[in-house]
């Protein structure tokens, strides 16, 4: 057991830190994602270019595809350091983290050559079209249809909860290509040009007031057959790889954001009073802060253990559900704890720019997006503990 970074890992981190110190731009002035204007998107695109220029795009991609060949631990160091440096949001997160690796795994040589370099350089921004209004937890029941017509698929249907759709160049899309077989067996994965005629997007406003997601509508969209990714009707397996990656990858960057939240909360406890007494002196506040600290530590440690396993060569499996389940529920408790500690004024948009109320509301989505907590528990029971399917 050695929880310290190895010399290699330290070297990687130090190099990255120096680079970030020199290259991270000033924060974009007061915005909330989804309500952004074109200037903001350019800001993100510039950062993506900078990463690419500095050799920090696709850190975990194999060297043969232009990446840095970073280990899972290095990849996690990368995500954490970038977050700590308050670098801009990672515009290429879906392309680099999900689409690229999937293309490497199942794409044709031609697809690799066409798409991978443009993902790496940030020229193409990707989104993923998975969920549909009637296919949430039951993703495999998706009904967006693709019908073969000569050298094209003709796609009709609607996707929902699609991040970056309003600005994306391409979409990794799951479509139904065979309605005569079991639902998992008739799905195909397509790479769709978002500028194709018939594609339209509409921002989806959340209870937290912002619009981080979109609805995407496909009306007679023609997709060339060479943009089929993997085998026909084998799209479910392709899609699953992406989901596993998604669950395993998020840890490091969300950890940094929770850490920052804790830091701010502790700072308030040290300076704000209730009824003449510092919050930090209130025994109930003290219990809550300590409990939040414990839970956050456990998230860090669970993440590190999972990373250590990945580093040892184990592929991310259903255990990723533990991390997702843990952090999503932890963040809801943390948000509630903050609202309780900070008290009545925490509900105001004029207090810390409304961030506490925003966090509180936004956190409710955590146990739904990326697979509900119910789905995660089903996965753990059935695929880790080997219990029979419950439905």
């Amino acid at each position: 057991m050695d929880l310290n970074l190895t010399p290699d890992e330290q070297k990687f981190r130090d190099e990255l830190r120096s680079w970030l110190a020199a290259n991270v731009p000033e924060p974009w002035p007061g915005h909330r994602r989804g309500e952004a204007d074109a200037g903001y998107w350019d800001h993100l695109r510039d950062w993506q270019q900078k990463l690419f220029g500095g050799g920090w795009a696709g850190v975990s991609w194999p060297v043969e595809y232009g990446g840095r060949g970073a280990s899972p631990i290095q990849q996690s160091i990368f995500l954490a350091e970038v977050a700590r440096a308050r670098a801009p949001e990672h515009f290429g997160v879906i392309g680099e983290g999900l689409v690229g690796p999937t293309i490497m795994a199942v794409g044709s040589e031609q697809q690799k050559q066409k798409f991978l370099p443009r993902i790496l350089s940030g020229k193409d921004i990707w989104c993923q079209g998975y969920s549909e209004p009637n296919s949430g937890s039951d993703l495999a029941s998706l009904s967006t249809r693709a019908i073969r017509d000569g050298e094209h698929f003709v796609v009709n249907g609607q996707k929902i909860w699609t991040s970056f759709a309003q600005i994306a160049d391409w979409c990794l899309l799951l479509v139904r290509t065979d309605t005569s077989v079991a639902k998992h067996k008739g799905i195909t994965c397509l790479l769709v040009d978002m500028k194709s005629p018939g594609v339209s997007t509409k921002p989806l406003r959340q209870m937290s007031g912002d619009s981080g997601f979109n609805e995407v509508f496909f009306t007679d969209v023609r997709v060339p057959i060479e943009n089929q990714l993997g085998e026909l009707n084998n799209g479910w397996r392709v899609g699953l790889v992406v989901l596993m990656n998604e669950r395993a990858n998020l840890g490091a960057s969300v950890y940094v954001s929770f850490e920052e939240t804790m830091r701010q909360l502790i700072e308030h406890c040290r300076t704000r009073k209730r009824n003449g007494r510092l919050l930090a002196e209130d025994p109930l506040v003290r219990q809550n802060i300590a409990q939040a600290h414990v839970e956050l530590e456990l998230f860090r440690l669970n993440t590190d253990r999972a990373l250590s396993r990945s580093n040892a060569g184990e592929t991310p499996g259903p255990e990723g559900s533990i991390l997702k389940l843990y952090w999503s529920e932890m963040n809801q408790r943390l948000s509630q704890t903050a609202m309780e500690i900070l008290g009545d004024t925490a509900q105001l948009s004029t207090f810390d720019n409304g961030n506490w109320a925003y966090r509180y509301l936004r956190s409710r989505g955590n146990t739904i997006e990326g697979g509900t907590s119910e789905i995660q528990r089903n996965i753990l029971a059935e695929r880790v503990l080997g219990m029979p399917k419950s439905y």
């Binding site: 039951d138 029941s141 989806l204 209870m207 009824n275 309780e340 008290g343 509900q347 907590s373 419950s390």
Partner: protein, 380 residues
């Protein structure tokens, strides 16, 4: 023992429910909450006409002379319909005025009840609490020059800041809780007073507007001092008990809505070729919603009844505020989770109730605050 609404109370309930259905559908709620005031005059006058303002207060002032149970019935329905506007803050302020009595009550209350006079209460401070300890209260009445506050002609001044004052910008008069020497005092202040600045501070719940009120040497005549010391404290506590029954009732209405909406959704939404209400985990979330809602009803009715009978109401009201505040938060979380993605959208009405519930959870002190009050009653 008869632990249910009486026939007349059930009729009142039905009439409020019908009115809300007819006059304040959720589309109107959404339209109103997008306005600066979350109210419109015609709706307010209609509500006044129904007698819902001060319905629990003495007929001598123009109230209906009904009791806290009837107030609770109305509040529950307004909560169930998520009715925007200053109903709660107005009733709190009116209760406080009536409890103090005197010429100001006689002057203002009839207008309050008929909807023509708007009042609210400025009480909470940023680093204060709902216990209003005069020793740490930032908003203070002080003597101007050397004259004492007991001399009739003396003009004193008020300085300080209040937060979360409901509908201050729509009010004609503020009732203000302030410190004077080592005591509390209650003041009535026209919003047009010199030195009073009212700033909008949008809160999590857009159906009720809240403001920051800054007092900078606001001149206060002696006749603006409604009460001080024990008298002020008692009137405030009594009015808070009434208002807490109302806010707990409102949360009960929200709970009813959450339960009904979630169960209906679970019975109709299909995933995996079956309605999600057939999944045991979803069923159990709904069963918990039922338990929370039914228990909240017991707590609310008991508090309203205790207040009506004047039986250790502090305790019964605190029990209700603790239980219902926690219940409505848990229920809101269960409801959002049961709905999945759709329940997290702006388009769905769930967030209106979720946010109002959060504001109500804080209002008059959260569960932790009232647990400590209860501990004081139990353990000393």
């Amino acid at each position: 023992m008869y632990f249910d609404l009486s026939k007349p109370q059930k009729l009142l309930q039905q009439s409020v429910r019908d009115f809300c259905k007819r006059e304040i559908p959720i589309s109107r709620v959404r339209a109103l909450m997008e306005t600066d005031s979350a109210m419109d005059d015609s709706l307010w006058m209609e509500m006044a006409e129904q007698g819902w303002i001060g319905l629990h207060l003495d007929e001598q002032y123009g109230g209906l002379g009904l009791g806290p149970v009837e107030l609770s019935v109305v509040a529950e329905e307004l909560g169930r319909a998520c009715v925007p506007g200053p109903w709660l803050s107005t009733n709190w302020a009116a209760t406080l005025l009536a409890s103090i009595g005197g010429p100001v009550a006689s002057e203002l209350l009839p207008g309050v009840f008929d909807g023509s006079m708007r009042i609210t209460i400025a009480a909470l401070e940023e680093q204060g609490s709902w216990s209003f300890d005069p020793a740490v209260m930032e908003t203070r009445l002080s003597e101007n020059g050397k004259k004492t506050v007991t001399e009739a002609v003396t003009v004193n001044v008020l300085n300080g800041r209040k937060y979360l004052v409901q509908h201050a910008q729509q009010a004609d008069h503020l009732l203000c809780v302030a410190g004077v020497d080592d005591e509390l005092c209650l003041l009535t202040i026209p919003v047009a007073s010199d030195g009073l600045r009212i700033t909008s501070t949008p809160g999590i719940d857009a159906t009720r507007k809240v403001y920051q009120c800054d007092f900078s040497n606001v001149p206060i005549r002696r006749d603006q001092i409604l009460a001080r010391g024990d008298e002020a404290r008692q009137a405030l506590q009594q009015s808070q008990n009434v208002a807490m029954v109302a806010v707990c009732s409102e949360m009960l209405g929200i709970l009813q809505w959450l339960l009904k909406t979630t169960v209906e959704y679970a019975k109709s939404r299909k995933q995996f070729d079956r309605v999600i209400g057939s999944f045991q985990v979803v069923q159990h979330m709904c069963a918990d919603l039922l338990l929370l809602t039914e228990s909240a009803r017991s707590a609310v009715w008991n508090a309203a009844w205790a207040l009506q009978e004047n039986l250790d109401a502090n305790r019964a009201v605190a029990v209700a505020k603790v239980y219902v505040s926690d219940a409505v938060r848990k229920a809101g979380n269960l409801a959002v989770q049961s709905h999945g993605g759709i329940g997290f959208t702006w388009e769905h009405d769930l967030h209106l109730y979720y946010k109002r519930a959060k504001a109500d959870e804080y209002l008059f002190g959260d569960a932790t605050f009232h647990r400590e009050r209860l501990a004081e009653m139990i353990l000393g």
